[in-house]
Assembly symmetry: C2
Amino acid sequence: MINNGLNKILVHKYGGSSVSDAKKIANVAKRIASAYEAGFQMVAVCSAMGDTTDDLLDLASQVTTNPQPRELDLLLSTGELVSATLLAMAIAELGHPAISLSGIQAGIHTDEMYGKARIDNIETDRINKELNEGNIVIVAGFQGININDDVTTLGRGGSDTTAVALAAALRADRCEVYTDVDGIYTADPRIAKQARKITHIGYEEMLELACYGAKMHPRSIELGSVYNVPIYVASSFNDDPGTLIDSYVQEQTMENRIKVTGIAYQRNIAKITLRDVPDKPGLAGALFEPLTNDGISVDTIVQNTSADKLTDISFTIDKNDLPATLLTLEKITSVLGSGQLLSEENLAMVSIVGSGMQNTPGYASKMFTILAKGSINIDMITTSEIRISCIISEDKLEDAVQLLHQGFELDRVVN
Amino acid sequence: MINNGLNKILVHKYGGSSVSDAKKIANVAKRIASAYEAGFQMVAVCSAMGDTTDDLLDLASQVTTNPQPRELDLLLSTGELVSATLLAMAIAELGHPAISLSGIQAGIHTDEMYGKARIDNIETDRINKELNEGNIVIVAGFQGININDDVTTLGRGGSDTTAVALAAALRADRCEVYTDVDGIYTADPRIAKQARKITHIGYEEMLELACYGAKMHPRSIELGSVYNVPIYVASSFNDDPGTLIDSYVQEQTMENRIKVTGIAYQRNIAKITLRDVPDKPGLAGALFEPLTNDGISVDTIVQNTSADKLTDISFTIDKNDLPATLLTLEKITSVLGSGQLLSEENLAMVSIVGSGMQNTPGYASKMFTILAKGSINIDMITTSEIRISCIISEDKLEDAVQLLHQGFELDRVVN
């Protein structure tokens, strides 16, 4: 059963919609089996079936409005155990030896931040043992174990990260992520009808796209970049070519020198504003450290200083974190001496991403002009080397994506 | 939070019907919380919610007709994780600290017989640590971990065994088993209308009742007996007094000296007969050892030797084990030199149980007479010191239970 000679390891990852029922699980089993038959040592990571995670969250919400994060993680981790064991059974049904491993059994050690845990290291002894015995190894995604032997989860979409981390730890050839879309597009095809599939993209651009909307866990791209794991994103429902993510750098030709790779977006953004805060050194630290300690991730930050030593600070967070954020801030605003604490929901972020934009002026102003022509008001702006993002009203989001896709001629550019 | 002074440990166990939805889980949380408020260190074991285990089995059957036992156990173990985490959340909602532990985390080590694993030992360090920190500890029932760090399950009803084993390992005051019936009856009240609740019963009698029908995992009673853990069985839906199981011995008075404690029954029995087997030494071993190795449990065994050195052997098994049993026997019958391999389904067993029967003649013949008067044919007979069982046709079972309950005047005897 051992693939002598070749002995190359391949990691597959299948999302929840790819394993949502027995028939789809059987289909996924066939895909894994055919890679095994082609001579690869196979490791496959799966998400929970369909809406399982939401169903479990719903169960928890029937019991309590404030579940303990530790309990919630143990609860949610069961979803991936179910799909992983069923997938192992389906592969065995095809006549190949398969074994499923929980996060603990797969040696996935994380920090202690329940619900948003990060992988510290992977002890691959058990997986290597199973591979060397000829087994196809199915790993329950999204989960690990912390220093107290308690189960942690990596956050929504965390199975992508499990897969890339395993590919890195096992020195796999590459990590193939199969999902219900057949690759990465220049914009969400449901919004921008002319969106094109990208065949090859660099980690950095993909990271910006993933952070700002594309259906990949950003941390998985980051990990892929650090450990140089090629990631291939394709559909589990057909054999259409997908998108390869690696250290690719776009060739600069005369025709496509000026380059935006894609339009990303994010919904469910909330904005917090603290008005009239005394502008003293250490202000930002005093403000954001308590939020970090609560595991709340702050995005765009804007600060305006005025002449009278008072300042306004605004920043964005995930809308779901709004109650916790307000709770924390109410405790510290008296210390900070803030005048007013304002919050706003129903915001969204739209971004243009492209490594071709680096060191080239004109993209930001072109973006703002396109949005202005569409009567879309810009609330906040943030930029990175290869991304420009605007916070806008959520109800203008679809217009913004379409206008930008059209304005930057993404339907025309050859990738 | 630590219960200084008292520091007594109580183990509760709640069955699947007691935690079948959020409302019932909240009700169970209240019961546990009030024992905690009364000063006990609380450990509670729960089964999977309602029909979860059947639903998971159904999922598996959609994927394969022949699930690997290891995968099946990991799959099924998730049901108890879900209920345990929800129960911990519900207790926290009442303002008490609670933590759920999987079988692994609770230190429950078993042998390697998937689906029917037996507990080898319990490492109580983690549970004791949590108790000493003032936590109410919820343990996922029915599961443990084997020497390979793989999850095992203890078989249907195994959560009872988890609870009693924990009570023994933790030297708990007693183990309280809460279920959807309010105690142990002289016969199944759904069949025998006059059935009476038994308030106090010895381990041995209860073991016979449990083995032969009452709603308790027999291994839990056995464990209770070995470690002398008092077990109290009551309803989770009301506060009616239940049944206490301990080393109780029935007082012998003039009036109730002649004593049958209860009628037990078991459905889904299959019978195997090997005809005309050469009667050589070692025959029974050669026949039953392969079955034992396959984890098939054999019940009643009857062997008749004839003059011509050929013998007929009959034995009963669980109907679900019939296909596996036939498969194994077909392999070895040629070695044994058996003439014919016959099987019969749709059988049941009815038993009278009572320590009062010991060393007293007349019970067996009275039982046979009662059944004969009801035109119920007896297929096989087996007896222990405190039990007499008859294998009969399953369609005569309800008649048999009613006639025996009436015939032995179980509605009249004071317990």
